[in-house]
Symmetry: C2
Subunit: 355 residues, 2 copies
């Protein structure tokens, strides 16, 4: 975890440049309401220094005359646009909900516009979003990079001066801060657990191997087999699945094998849930007839039937650490640029009972 002091408030005390138009509007509002321009300014920023009743009056009149705070003028003082982008590949994955929650809490979502982009592992979509944020001088960007993201592309963003933190996936040590769970360690622990429970034919379903998460979880699965002296049947290695639907779709192929797996490691909980529902439709009861495990330990994992063995992939610490690294960059402080790996935790439940 990052180990440093919290930054002092970065707003300097530079004198406010003369902005006649904005000043005039504030004065006009002040005259109409019998308040000082300073009070009007604070009220428009929803400052608790101004009584709630007064803020409501100011806002009402400002709305009436169609006043929109001139953010680019205001930003001459603070050099902020109060806009932060968050780029992920699957906004619907509940794992990201936990990360968003941690980010939002740290970044104060009520006063900062957090803009989420669902790039769906399409590097062009990611590029469009990132370019737009750069052109509009966003305060920062938190990015789980798409498949196909080149280091040059990320370095270009970093060199442009846009504060940047990568999460969950990385594309090598390129001098940009990265915070993610230790995918290798998590997958190693989970696969060892399955082997300890007597399994010798363990399928690995899902994960994009062009991403660090896909590669590292797969490497952990492979390493656990190697240390136990078990050879992996290549037919049990089914890459790409990332969703419930893809998990369901993988089941028919696994069941068609002459030698079926006795356990399945789903790349994430969504895949594992998909596997469980489709197995059951085929008359194979997860947890009784076959072991199934997931990864991420999302909200519903403890509540499925059977309760799902999974790996807690620490979304809270990842979100909080990423937010702190972003805030430090915005404040102009130096930040760690090496990879920050956070240890995940294996959570054993009913779905991986002994074989």
């Amino acid at each position: 975890m990052a180990d440093r002091e919290k930054p002092a408030d970065a707003q300097g005390d530079a004198p406010l440049p003369k902005l006649p138009q904005r000043g005039l509007t504030l004065r006009m509002l002040g005259d109409r309401l019998g308040l000082s321009t300073a009070t009007i300014s604070l009220a428009l920023r929803d400052s608790p220094l101004v009584a709630e009743q007064t803020r409501i009056r100011v806002r009402a009149l400002a709305d009436e005359i169609g006043y929109v705070a001139n953010r680019s003028a205001a930003s001459l003082r603070t050099a902020r646009t109060n806009m932060v982008g968050v780029v992920v590949h699957d906004v619907v994955n509940p794992y990201f909900a936990e990360i968003f929650r941690a980010l939002e809490a740290e970044l104060n979502a009520q006063s900062l516009a957090i803009m989420i982009c669902n790039h769906a592992d399409d590097v062009r979509r990611q590029r469009t979003f990132v370019e737009t944020l750069m052109q509009h001088r966003a305060d920062g960007l938190i990015m789980c990079p798409s498949v196909g993201t080149e280091p040059a592309e990320v370095l270009r963003v970093a060199r442009s001066g846009l504060p940047l933190v990568m999460i969950c996936r990385d594309i090598g040590e390129i001098g940009v801060p990265v915070v993610r769970g230790d995918d290798f360690a998590g997958a190693l622990a989970l696969t060892r657990h399955l082997i300890e429970r007597g399994h010798r034919r363990i399928a690995f379903v899902g994960g994009r191997r062009q991403t660090s998460a896909g590669r590292e979880r797969h490497a952990g699965y492979v390493a656990a087999h190697a240390e136990a002296g078990i050879e992996i049947d290549p037919a049990l290695d089914v890459p790409e699945a990332m969703t419930q639907r893809a998990g369901r779709d993988a089941v028919a192929g696994l069941l068609a094998l002459s030698r079926r797996p006795t356990a399945i490691f789903g790349f994430n909980d969504l895949v594992a849930l998909g596997l469980m529902s489709a197995l059951r439709r085929h008359g194979i009861e997860p947890g009784r007839d076959i072991a199934v495990a997931g990864y991420d330990n999302t909200d519903g994992a403890a509540w499925t039937t059977p309760a799902l063995t999974s790996v807690d992939n620490v979304p809270g610490p990842i979100g909080a650490t990423a937010a702190a690294l972003l805030r430090d960059q915005i404040a102009g402080l130096p930040v760690r640029t090496e990879r920050i790996l956070i240890a995940p935790e294996l959570i054993v439940r009913e779905s991986t009972r002994p074989n």
Copy 2:
């Protein structure tokens, strides 16, 4: 559904204003690569009129010299920022995933930066996001309004000239386009189905009654009881739940009633899934011991055990219609401002077998 011609491309043929700095950079790129400035300009916009190989060369050199297209200059010609905001209360609900997919397909997510805001029914978060989009002159906004959204607030956005479409919830007929499923009709059909199956004690769990969706689904539930002459026990009416967790949390209270429900209508599929998992933990098997139904017919509904009865809430048509209404506004065409209600469809599955 909206019934009109697709708009012609709205980009006029106004002469390009003189932009010396931009022009110089284009010329410099052109000189270095032996290409015309027009070709450079097209290449930077990733136009298919320029050979892929050439586009790669241009992009590489532009990256090398740190060229970022000056979007505000470019927008003098097209008056576009290629930025569209989408505001919803729960980005993780798979129902919104279907809406996003339809929006993205219609709006061409590869060339348009679609920025999602998760307002979590906090009107201040919504306001921060909307203000930021207005200040940066976004091309449009699609909004599922937060609890607490005042008509004045939405009208102010509309009057500012920002193209605006509301989806899924509305705040009354205020002259702003709205597209949503007919929540009253869907809830009426589902409750009638439960009554036809012999249920007389039907709980309604979830929905925020400060939203049109919460009110209308509840009204459909009430109307179906009224026409069947069944009085509703107020203890069976449990508002507010919106998530799996909230659905799980509602179960203990329902089971503590001296007269338990024989069926439960979950406000959405997430609530219904939460209800089913917690009921099972209490030894009550959904579909056998108690009927459970959801709303939205999300991806997993057909695959739960038992398969979930739900209401298809037409996310595809809602997303496509909203995108079309937004595109028309961006193109300066007049659009329908009355409420567009799309008929939902009851999908009966195993979870509501006869009592």
